[in-house]
């Protein structure tokens, strides 16, 4: 399926500007139209959660329902030997990431909801493994959040490496809002940092705190499902789902508290309020928040020369409004928002391939490649 798109046809967002400098209420403006085509390069996927590109030109894709595929020229092959996966609500088989030195060591990192450990239900786990043919071998469980829970929400589970080779991943608060995120002795509602082999870095922020989960890097998060290293600054950026309103973009700093649920720009789904506070000393402000929520998941900075107009921009998937959001950022402030691929479907993930093209994971459709038109 190919269809002509006008990526820069803008839907003006219907709210006005706000006084706060980090406000998300940026009014989108129209720009000159530039045409792109899209091509479905992998079809027949329900919830393509994770996606990585191997040096041999093939692609690895996870489906939330538990299938793990290697894709060569659009042909899917199932990878065997998966661990037991707890498929429930928002949880299942989730993200994929390659070791920065994948070419040398072959390590693939996988996040998934796991029933391992005590208690009914499941919680987010991070493992690494290698591919031998189409079988997953040398599986090593690097982290498993506890306790298990039968709740269906907020597994987080995005994986990212920074430029120094540290492994970062997110785990959402698992529907235990008032207990997990502000307590560093508990898992969930956190972003974690490990060495690539699962050891805890000696200079992690809470290694000397009694009873703290030593892998925690930052806390006070709700459900972060986007994690990406800024291509120029090397800093870790996240996005996270807010409740009704209040989805956020944050720059993640070591040991910092991002405030959930003490401060928030969102409200409960029933319209009631759970906090009057949007800021408090000792809690970080987002650089941007969305009202209404777009339900952000995967995100990526564009570095490819194939898209001169998009270069340096941040692309964020929107599950709710079924488009890819382009954010133009200057001095860590969002100055412009645009809708790309409008009405394409629930956008789960977006990544730039090794070939410089942007690939978008769309629920019920598959993987879509954005092809610039000269």
């Amino acid at each position: 399926m190919k269809h002509l798109l006008s990526l820069f046809s803008i839907v003006i967002l219907t709210y006005s500007s706000c006084a706060q400098p980090h406000s998300t209420k940026v009014l989108a403006e129209s720009t000159a139209s530039v045409n792109y085509t899209t091509e479905v390069v992998v079809s027949g996927l329900n919830t393509p959660w994770g996606m990585v590109f191997l040096p041999d030109g093939s692609m690895l894709i996870t489906e939330k329902t538990g299938e793990f595929y290697r894709v060569v020229n659009g042909e899917k092959t199932v990878i065997e030997g998966m661990p037991e996966i707890y498929v429930r609500g928002q949880g299942g088989l989730m993200d994929l990431e390659l070791h920065p030195k994948y070419n040398e060591n072959g390590w693939i990192y996988i996040s998934f909801a796991s029933p391992e450990g005590e208690g009914e239900g499941g919680n987010t786990a991070i493992m690494r493994a290698k591919l031998e043919g189409n079988t997953l071998v040398e599986q090593q469980l690097l982290y498993k959040a506890s306790p298990n829970s039968t709740k269906g929400v907020h597994f987080g589970s995005r994986i990212e490496f920074d430029n120094d080779g540290y492994l970062f991943f997110s785990i959402g608060e698992r529907g235990n809002r008032d207990v997990n995120p502000q307590d560093i002795t508990r898992d969930c509602g956190k972003i974690y940092r490990l060495y690539d082999d699962g050891r805890i870095p000696e200079d992690n922020p809470f290694v000397n705190e009694p009873n703290a989960k030593k892998a925690i890097y930052s806390y006070g998060h709700r459900n972060p499902q986007g994690l990406v290293i800024h291509p120029e600054t090397g800093k870790l950026w996240n996005n996270e789902h807010g409740p009704q309103g209040g989805d956020e973009i944050n720059i993640i700093q070591k040991g910092k508290n991002y405030g959930w649920p003490v401060i928030s720009y969102g409200i409960n789904y029933d319209g009631t309020s759970f906090t009057e506070l949007t800021e408090r000393e000792g809690m970080e402000q987002p650089i941007f928040f969305w009202v209404p929520s777009i339900a952000p998941c995967g995100m990526t900075f564009v570095t490819s020369d194939l898209y001169p107009e998009l270069k340096g921009n941040l692309l964020v998937s929107s599950l709710k409004f079924k488009y890819l959001e382009r954010l133009i950022i200057e001095d860590n402030k969002v100055v412009k928002r645009e809708k790309l691929l409008d009405d394409i479907g629930r956008v789960r993930n977006v990544r730039q391939g090794l070939d410089g093209y942007i690939y978008v994971g769309v629920e019920g459709k598959g993987i879509i490649k954005i092809i610039p038109q000269q």
Binding site: T65, Y86, G92, G152, V153, F321, K322, G345, R346, E363
Partner: protein, 137 residues
């Protein structure tokens, strides 16, 4: 002696009350709806909202939904196996994806009993675990 009689009467009345409550007031449908509301709040509310109204053009409403009323089996299957593609609800066409939720058959029955008896919806014919478990893809 008087105290003994009073004590006896109190015991009898307590036993009677407990027996009466469990025999005559236990209502499987009501209990299922209560459990179903919890499931709804965890799994469904982010899209379909506490009001059951959904979001216009994105997530179809459950409140006063003709689809839910007229497609009991299809609705159960949607929750059990996931839902994808075009769906006409109250005259409007929705085209979206709902992933399978990983709920047990009992949980699916509970949440169906909740949504078919909320926001103006009414369903006297209780959805049972057996009914859910019989449905195949």
């Amino acid at each position: 002696m008087k105290l003994l009689i009073i004590g006896f009467l109190i015991c009898i009345s307590i036993i009677f009350t407990i027996t009466y409550t469990s025999t005559f007031q236990s209502d499987p449908l009501k209990e299922s709806i209560v459990r179903g509301k919890e499931i709804y709040t965890d799994f469904c509310v982010t899209c379909h909202l506490p009001s059951g109204l959904g979001t216009e053009n994105i997530y179809p409403p459950l409140a006063n939904s003709d689809y839910l009323k007229n497609n009991r089996e299809g609705s159960i299957k949607g929750i059990k196996f996931g839902q994808q593609g075009e769906l006409v609800v109250n005259g409007k066409t929705y085209n979206n994806v709902m992933a399978p939720l990983g709920l047990s058959n009992a949980e699916i029955a509970d949440v169906m009993n909740y949504i078919t008896n909320s926001w103006g919806n009414k369903n006297d014919e209780m959805i049972t675990v057996e009914e859910v478990s019989k449905l195949k893809k």
